[in-house]
């Protein structure tokens, strides 16, 4: 598959959204709402539940399963209050020593006047810093599109997984094509240039591994995902909170390519 074909697969409307993974992975769930400052952004859903026998906090960017849902959750483009809600749930998880599991699926943070007024940049920046500091394990799974800063704001994790056809990009290939060639229709070429696939993420050290997709056997696929998460958490729980934060920083600290001399 080409990078652009994978991008299209990642954006496929029939693809399972965060809610589907949350419903299959966690039991006895309690969904929590609001950032306690401004509103409840439905583009980011979150709460508490059990992963096996372990209480965890789950947070996901939700695109919506039908048109009505898509409208109410802004097509999966979070507002600043969505990121602040996510941070609130993460701090709560830290207080009660629960691991955090994040699901990323967005074309990007919402782009609009009200988002700027309420500090989209500040909200994302705050998440990056506070997630780096968080003294509980964080695992992120990119289940569809990982669109720029809006996706990164839930990706400062100890471990990051990409689904087989998920993508992660600094800019949408359409946006990149309009800048480079002044033609959004050149997106397929831009997708190649940007190196956005799961394989690319693994090669750059952005992702630990790639998870196979099998939406026809979704139950089974989620069972496999659950095993991966439980194995990781068993490993991560051997570290102190302080060490988890240090390991996370070390993980991002080494990202980047340059010459020295």
């Amino acid at each position: 598959m080409t990078a652009y074909e994978r991008l299209q697969a990642a954006r496929d409307q029939n693809r399972p959204t965060s809610r589907a993974y949350i419903e299959h992975l966690f039991t006895d769930r309690l969904e929590l709402h609001g950032d306690r400052k401004f509103a409840d952004d439905q583009a980011i859903i979150g709460g508490i539940g059990y992963l096996g026998e372990m209480p965890v906090t789950f947070i996901g960017i939700e695109r919506g399963r039908d048109l009505q849902e898509r409208i109410s959750c802004n097509f999966g483009c979070p507002m600043p209050e969505g990121y602040r809600k996510a941070l609130r749930l993460m701090k709560q998880a830290e207080k009660f020593s629960r691991p955090v599991i994040c699901f990323v699926d967005t074309s990007g943070a919402f782009c609009g006047e009200e988002a700027e007024e309420r500090g989209q940049g500040q909200a994302i920046a705050d998440n990056l810093l506070e997630m780096m500091r968080l003294k509980t394990p964080i695992i992120t799974i990119v289940i569809g599109e990982g669109g720029s800063g809006g996706a990164l704001a839930l990706s400062v994790a100890n471990k990051l997984y990409m689904l087989e056809n998920s993508v992660f990009s600094v800019i949408s290939p359409e946006g990149c094509a309009s800048i480079l060639w002044e033609d959004a229709k050149e997106a397929p070429a831009a997708a190649e240039c940007l190196h956005i696939t799961a394989e690319d993420m693994k090669r750059f050290g952005v992702a630990e591994d790639i998870l196979a997709e099998d939406f026809d056997h979704f139950e089974q696929m989620c069972a496999g995902m659950k095993e991966t998460l439980l194995a990781d958490l068993a490993e991560l729980e051997t570290y102190s909170g302080e060490d988890l934060s240090k390991i996370r920083y070390a993980r991002f600290r080494k990202l980047g390519v340059y010459q020295e001399g």
């Binding site: 705050d126 990164l152 340059y258």
Partner: protein, 284 residues
């Protein structure tokens, strides 16, 4: 001061003089108030229009001269060079051009200095180098500066000017946002003071990382500061945005900036902030 005038000659805002009338002092016309001044008088005023207060964009070296005590700046974290990890179309040529045009190796300069005798670590982003975009080198230099400052218990003063993450390095550029935010946290958790001075323009991935993470956030007047670009928002929402949208004054109203400080008053303001945060036992 010679250098400030020197840099000024390269600025886009300067109409080319004929070059055969060296006796006449070169003039500059303010793009905002249209008043005409000598280049020397504008440069002397730290590249702020003496008539209307318009702040010209300045490069990193000019900024160092305008802010740091004379001869106090010592550059650190040098010798890092960008590569072209994605073999991105046109990136190498773009880099070459930027190096020639700016005389810089990259989009940020890091160092230590004193500002009215107050020691600090500083980073200055250069809007003339690929619009101050952040790739691996910019991210790494800023990260190292925070680590350097944390070890030496120095405050960090950061001047931001950036179009955002550098798309030519793809996901690696995006990851610099997380890395630099981690570095701010590292410095902060050791009690370090971090002051950001937002300058025109500060947008995209830089706004959504270290620019917005200062303990105190200052801005130059009228600077454009935002996450999404104005044109992108207008295209998405099909709505004309007000003139002051994403200007520093708008951000002050919305609660994201502590104060707007004209360039000519920045040294005094930074001195005050640095003095207020002197650590016990600091030898001055």
């Amino acid at each position: 001061m010679n250098n400030i005038v020197g840099m000024f000659r390269k600025s886009k805002n300067v109409p080319e003089s004929g070059g055969i009338t060296p006796v006449v002092e070169e003039k500059i016309r303010c793009p905002i108030c249209k008043s005409i001044d000598t280049k020397r008088s504008v440069a002397k005023n730290k590249m702020v229009c003496p008539s209307c207060g318009h702040h010209y964009r300045i490069n990193a070296r000019t900024r160092i001269k305008a802010i740091c005590d004379k001869d106090s700046f010592r550059e650190v974290i040098t010798g890092l060079d960008s590569t072209d990890p994605l073999h991105f179309p046109g990136y190498e040529q773009k880099m070459q051009k930027a190096k020639l045009a700016s005389g810089q190796q990259e989009g940020v300069v890091c160092g230590t200095a004193t500002i009215r005798h107050q020691p600090c670590a500083v980073f200055i982003m250069d809007p003339q180098f690929m619009m101050g975009s952040m790739g691996s080198v910019v991210g790494e230099k800023i990260t190292r500066l925070f680590e350097y400052a944390a070890e030496r218990e120095l405050p960090v003063i950061g001047f931001t000017a950036s179009g955002g993450a550098r798309m030519q390095e793809g996901i690696l550029s995006l990851m610099q946002m997380a890395k630099t935010s981690g570095a701010v946290q590292y410095h902060s958790d050791r009690g370090g003071l971090y002051v950001t001075v937002l300058t025109d323009p500060t947008t995209g991935g830089v706004t959504a990382s270290f620019a917005m993470l200062g303990d105190i956030i200052l801005s130059e007047p009228n600077a454009v500061i935002g996450f999404a670009g104005r044109r992108v928002i207008e295209q998405t929402t099909k709505k004309k945005l007000p003139d002051d949208f994403q200007k520093a004054e708008f951000l002050l109203d919305c609660g994201f900036v502590d104060a707007i400080v004209p360039r000519t008053e920045l040294r005094a303001e930074l001195e005050k902030i640095l003095k207020l945060h002197q650590r016990k036992g600091d030898v001055k």
